[in-house]
Symmetry: C2
Subunit: 102 residues, 2 copies
DNA sequence: TTATTTCTTCTAAATTATAGAAGAAATAAG
DNA sequence: CTTATTTCTTCTATAATTTAGAAGAAATAA
């Protein structure tokens, strides 16, 4: 089976945790918080697109919000496959560190 | 700070765990065991080289063993920086999964 | 000598990551 | 209205990483 890259792992997990509020801008903000540094929009959207193309994420267009700059948002959610591979990735990570003393 | 890619994480951890027996062939075997699939030699040596160039691993030539095919081995060990970044990567991984329910 | 084994080096191609310019779609301001 | 501003996404080019596997090197065995 194929494992996720670190960025893919971070993005899937972030989308999962953001629930109904997972779209480009909120995802980017959360990733920056996690990594403690700012990232470009490309660093977010390019892998999100790939994950979607690979069937690990699904997307839909939201309504435009009633605020200024209300371009409609593209929301993300894990597919069944996305959730499964995220679990497998966690399992790999766990077994990797299982008996490690660093 | 810069985080490790997944392969770098796996390699550093494997070198660490193999202790005095960490060289190309044993590392490759352990990684294959971890991932549950075979990998090419390039998939091992190329990133090992890069980690060495970046100062996270140090290397030295071992003696040739008294067995057939005894070309001398190139051993690897984590540097102080390598160990530090491995710890930081584990911390990232932990915080990533801290309050995750997948 | 030649074959065989273990191990590493090298190189090319595919994939992934990253930055940031550009574009699209909405409301606010004048 | 018309222009500015804001939020958000798309696009594109480049850099970095991964991967496969051919080739080469260094030893012992036949």
């Amino acid at each position: 089976m194929e494992f996720l890259t670190r960025m893919e792992e971070i993005l899937l997990l972030t989308v999962h945790q953001l629930g109904t509020e997972a779209y480009g801008v909120t995802i980017k903000a959360r990733v920056e918080e996690l990594l403690g540094k700012s990232v470009s929009v490309g660093a977010i959207y390019v892998p999100l697109d790939r994950l979607t193309k690979h069937g690990l994420l699904k997307t839909w267009q939201g309504e435009s919000s009633p605020e200024r700059g209300g371009r409609s948002k593209k929301f993300y959610k894990l597919t069944r496959d996305g959730l499964a591979i995220l679990r497998e990735t966690k399992a790999l990570s766990d077994s990797l560190w299982a008996d490690a003393t660093v």
